[in-house]
């Protein structure tokens, strides 16, 4: 079923799901939504299973004209949003119908917004996932960001019988300074054991920040004397903080598969959404925790998310 036409695509809007697993050993990155929390909630607000495909919208929002009655919800970065010119709220479901036009504008806070439609965005599953891998030109909608005139489909499903909304106190804020928790490693032995620079100074997000990685600027993080300047190439994990030759950290994200530089620490999975909502000029600081603490945080975050009651 045709769901909507793209009137204007916004800055960088792609179809994503939870990612493409099982092919990183063949050089295909995981991809998928960067802010998993906001994307999950968008799906839940329209009555979807959270494995369905959503739009990931970056910095500047799109304008969409709908073809059919649908339930939609927008979460994540705060953007002014209108339906046929009338201001609408994020983090709640709304019913749209034929010829309704939804317009999202520039972000007010955060970086990435998520739009879910009832039934989920219907694109072919490529290698097990709906996610767009722009670098490889595959998945999502024709393997690329949306363009003017694209027509996207949704699966036809029964619509919600009542509106759903996220409890106010559960809507995240997206401040311009965030603290990210990290587990030291995989190559923390290449650096000063106390990781002084990483843990005591602040790093600024540079304009080179995308789904492949976030380049940061701040106090240099030198490799310890006597240690090699690079490592034998190895696969990377989202959140890995790689230190290249200029000694300025890069946080690797979901469109990266292999790297040859040492990684001092890895941002925990629970905090990747916070990072994904920062924009160039925002500042980050890092707090080291051990694996047991990181797993406690992981379990607690999952429990909290599962406990959210939408009404």
């Amino acid at each position: 079923m045709q769901a909507f036409e793209v009137v204007s695509p916004g800055g960088f809007t792609t179809v994503q799901d939870k990612g493409r697993f099982g092919f990183q050993q063949m050089g295909v990155p995981i991809c998928g939504v960067l802010d998993t929390f906001a994307a999950d909630m968008a799906n839940r607000l329209v009555g979807n299973d959270d494995s369905l495909a959503v739009l990931e919208i970056t910095v500047t929002g799109p304008s969409l004209r709908f073809f059919a009655p649908l339930e939609i919800a927008v979460t994540g970065a705060e953007m002014d949003m209108t339906l046929n010119g009338r201001p609408m709220a994020q983090w709640r479901s709304m019913r749209v119908g034929p010829d309704d036009v939804l317009t999202l504008s520039q972000v007010r806070s955060g970086c990435r917004a998520y739009l879910a439609v009832s039934g989920g965005i219907d694109v072919p599953r490529v290698m097990g996932s709906f996610s767009t891998y722009v670098g490889g030109g595959l998945g999502g909608y024709q393997g690329r960001p949306l363009k003017i005139g694209d027509i996207l489909d949704a699966r036809e499903v029964p619509l919600l019988t009542r509106d759903l909304a996220m409890p106010e106190n559960m809507i995240p804020e997206y401040p311009s300074h965030v603290v990210l928790r990290v587990v030291p490693g995989p190559q923390n032995d290449y650096f000063d054991p106390k990781m002084t620079a990483l843990f005591t100074s602040q790093y600024m997000v540079t304009p080179k920040a995308d789904r492949m990685g976030y380049r940061l600027m701040g106090e240099k993080i030198p490799i310890r004397p006597g240690m090699p300047k690079s490592i034998v190439s190895e696969p990377s994990m989202p959140g890995g903080i790689q230190i290249p030759a200029d000694e300025q950290p890069i946080i690797l994200l979901v469109e990266q598969t292999v790297g040859g530089y040492a990684k001092i620490a890895t941002v925990i999975s629970t905090d990747i959404p916070k990072l994904a909502q920062t924009t160039p000029g925002d500042t980050l600081s890092f707090e080291g925790i051990d694996l047991a603490a990181a797993h406690r945080i992981y379990h607690e975050a999952r429990r909290k998310q599962a406990d959210i009651r939408l009404d």
Binding site: F21, G22, F23, Q24, Q25, M26, G27, V28, V126, M127, G135, G136, G137, L138, G139, V182, V183, P184, G185, P186, Q187, V232, S233, E234, P235, M237, G239, G240, T257, V258, K263, T266, V267, I268, S269, T270, L291, A294, H295, I297, Y298, H299, R302
Partner: protein, 235 residues
């Protein structure tokens, strides 16, 4: 580079959902064989909660769900494997033949590679297509194979200025490495030829023609043969 096989795999944490098990130091076929043996054993008998097992030159990256499993559990499983035996059993490698049309518009840098070592075009082709190259790992872009075994005479530095667009199927050399571009991408390799095969076809039942541990042999073909095979591949 010095190489060494570790008695027991060394664990390196990669956040709360990943870790690396390192089997040795450096780039070495024996270390790599152990990596693959463990990867294949875990593929044949998967451990619940493991989302990806990614073999590399000398280590395995595990991506796991902490709600289901823990790195300690994986190390227990690895303890039960007879890695030496498995690595021995893994000797029956597959050799994948990749037809390559060398030189001409497909291989604009073949003479640069030749001049670098005072070799004729024919000698470059003959030397490049002689060995069986081991695929140490696949990554960077879909289907990009990190190959070992390039003849020292063909070692050539990267281009000073990388090309913004290297067509898919291009075969090139960069320093002591040789490889193929499965997708069109920017790149700084000295391009010496092109294969008509679709090295990465996401819609094909098996999108890839080879995997880590296989060997690659390049087979020189004529332009006419290239066109015939390219037609069969559907462009």
């Amino acid at each position: 580079m010095t190489t060494q096989i570790f008695d027991r795999p060394v664990c390196r944490l990669a956040g709360d959902t990943g870790f690396l098990a390192e089997f040795g130091e450096g780039i070495d076929p024996q270390v790599n064989a152990r990596v693959r043996a463990v990867a294949r054993a875990l593929e044949a008998d998967p451990v619940p909660g493991i989302r990806e097992v990614i073999p590399t030159y000398r280590s395995l990256l595990f991506i796991y769900d902490p709600a289901v499993t823990h790195p300690d559990r994986l190390f227990e499983v690895m303890e039960t494997l007879d890695i030496d035996r498995a690595a021995m059993d893994d000797q029956a490698v597959r050799v994948v033949e990749i037809p390559v049309c060398y030189g001409g518009e497909f291989g604009p840098d073949i003479d640069t590679v030749g001049q670098h070592a005072s070799l004729s075009r024919q000698e470059v082709i003959q030397i490049h297509s002689a060995p069986e190259y081991l695929i140490y790992m696949v990554g960077f872009t879909p289907g990009f194979a990190f190959l070992g075994g390039l003849d020292d005479r063909l070692v050539t530095p990267r281009l000073k200025t990388p090309r913004t667009r290297v067509p898919r199927g291009s075969v090139g050399i960069a320093n002591n490495q040789t490889g193929m571009y499965p997708i069109t991408s920017p790149g700084g390799w000295q391009v010496i030829g092109r294969t008509p095969l679709n090295l990465f076809a996401p819609d094909r039942e098996n999108p890839f023609l080879y995997r880590a541990g296989d060997k690659i042999r390049f087979v020189p073909i004529s332009l006419a043969e290239y066109d015939r095979l390219a037609g069969k591949e559907g462009g």
